[in-house]
Amino acid sequence: MTERELLFQLNNLNQKKIDQAWLSSNRDILVSQILAGEQLEKTSVNWANIIWNMTSGLTIDFVARPVFAVAVMIILVLAGGTVVSIKASENAKPGDSLYIAKMISEQTRASLTFNEKDKAKLNVEFAGNRVKELTQVLSAPSQNKEEQTKHVEQLANNFKQELSEARDRLSKINFALTADDGKSEKTGTVSPSTNVAAKSPEKKIASQPAAKNAKPAQNQIFGANLEKSNSGMQISDPALEAENLFNKKDYDGAINKLNEVHKIIESNSEDKKAIKADVIKEKESATSTK
């Protein structure tokens, strides 16, 4: 093929026809979102009137259509960020029109989270979402097997990526994902004090009494940093277990394990907040006695 022929072919590609109905309905959605945003901001009604006049044909009926709910949902996600839980998109799976809204919602929440631990919790939650979507895709009557396989593969890859990110974040901050066992007290106190001690000597001294007062963890020492476990006991990492269950196609088991991981991070956060508060008090009292 000569260059001239190639350029001719490329130029011809621009003749591709676009679905005008979709273009038009997408514009309607955009208009309603702008209007919905305006209502949220409680500004003058005049603008709304102008746009309604401009896009003649929009009637009250439009408001009642599901597409309006989608539009409001999307603008709420963009305006509200982390907090808004939207039922309509929660159950969306790849291939659904609401799935993009679900993805935008997840991305918005991730971008509005700054703490590594909270980001890890989000990773775990999103991993759980991927598993749920996978079960939905597999159970949905799908005529296109090729597309189903493609979605399953994408979801599996995404699941592993989310879980891997979660574990990387947690190991970066020396956070321990642990197994439940009876010998928690000694090892449980090492973990929080190790994290606190890493910061400064005063905190290390201050943290020892605080660490002693820490709740005996159901959270104990863990899989990734084996050198921190002195007990020599068999250690399991629930995140790894979740992945193994996923690979064995035990999706319900994987979801339960992910919930467990989420709870571990959650409960450890509570402990560490208490310990941190104690450390700060100790430091203040040490400073005041000088």
């Binding site: 011809n12 621009n14 676009i18 679905d19 273009l23 997408n26 514009r27």
Partner: protein, 186 residues
């Protein structure tokens, strides 16, 4: 729309003028859709991503985050590029989809074409489209912008944020690479 008209529209948009935004949508939606379609190779994804691009654009308008793009076209194309990158990251792999579906290709054909000629064109376009998807991302997008959508080198340089000279060189290399892919396929 003239360049002056586009500048005026952009100025209105910066003032959060909603009419201006709708007008901008009317002006650029089809272009952005085609850009995304030829980049990702799927109509459904292109539709979803196009919607996302305009949503994000409105969000940028509201948050006064337009400083970097000098023109309206550059704004939409940049947001489109970033949206596609985010989409790839989300899926964690590029989607190389072969456009073998004849239904899509018949859209390109004019009813006046004779059957043999239309089949030849179909086959050639099929080669070019699938070869396009084999190009690396950077080359693919500039080929789409320059040779499919007929944007000028200046406009492309503004969109990809590179000097004009570097853009021209990249265009030349991209075209040669595409040609080689097609020839190797044959």
């Amino acid at each position: 729309m003239s360049k002056f008209g586009e500048k005026l529209l952009y100025a209105r948009l910066k003032n959060k003028d909603k009419k201006a935004f709708i007008k901008a949508y009317n002006l650029f939606a089809e272009q952005i859709y085609k850009f995304i379609y030829f980049k990702v190779g799927s109509e459904e994804e292109a539709k979803d991503l196009t919607s996302a691009v305009f949503l994000k654009s409105w969000n940028h308008v509201l948050s006064n985050n337009l400083a970097e793009a000098k023109t309206l076209r550059a704004l939409f194309y940049r947001i489109a590029r970033n949206t596609i990158i985010d989409h790839y990251r989300q899926n964690s792999q590029y989607q190389q989809i072969s456009l073998d579906n004849d239904d899509k290709l018949t859209d390109l054909l004019n009813d006046d074409n004779q059957l043999m000629k239309s089949m030849e064109i179909k086959s050639d376009i099929n080669n070019v489209e699938s070869a396009l998807l084999k190009l690396k991302d950077e080359y693919r997008e500039i080929i789409i912008m320059r040779y499919i959508q007929q944007l000028s080198t200046n406009e492309i340089a503004e969109i990809i944020d590179k000097p004009k000279g570097a853009t021209r060189v990249a265009l030349h290399r991209a075209l040669q690479t595409l040609k080689k892919i097609i020839e190797d396929k044959k």
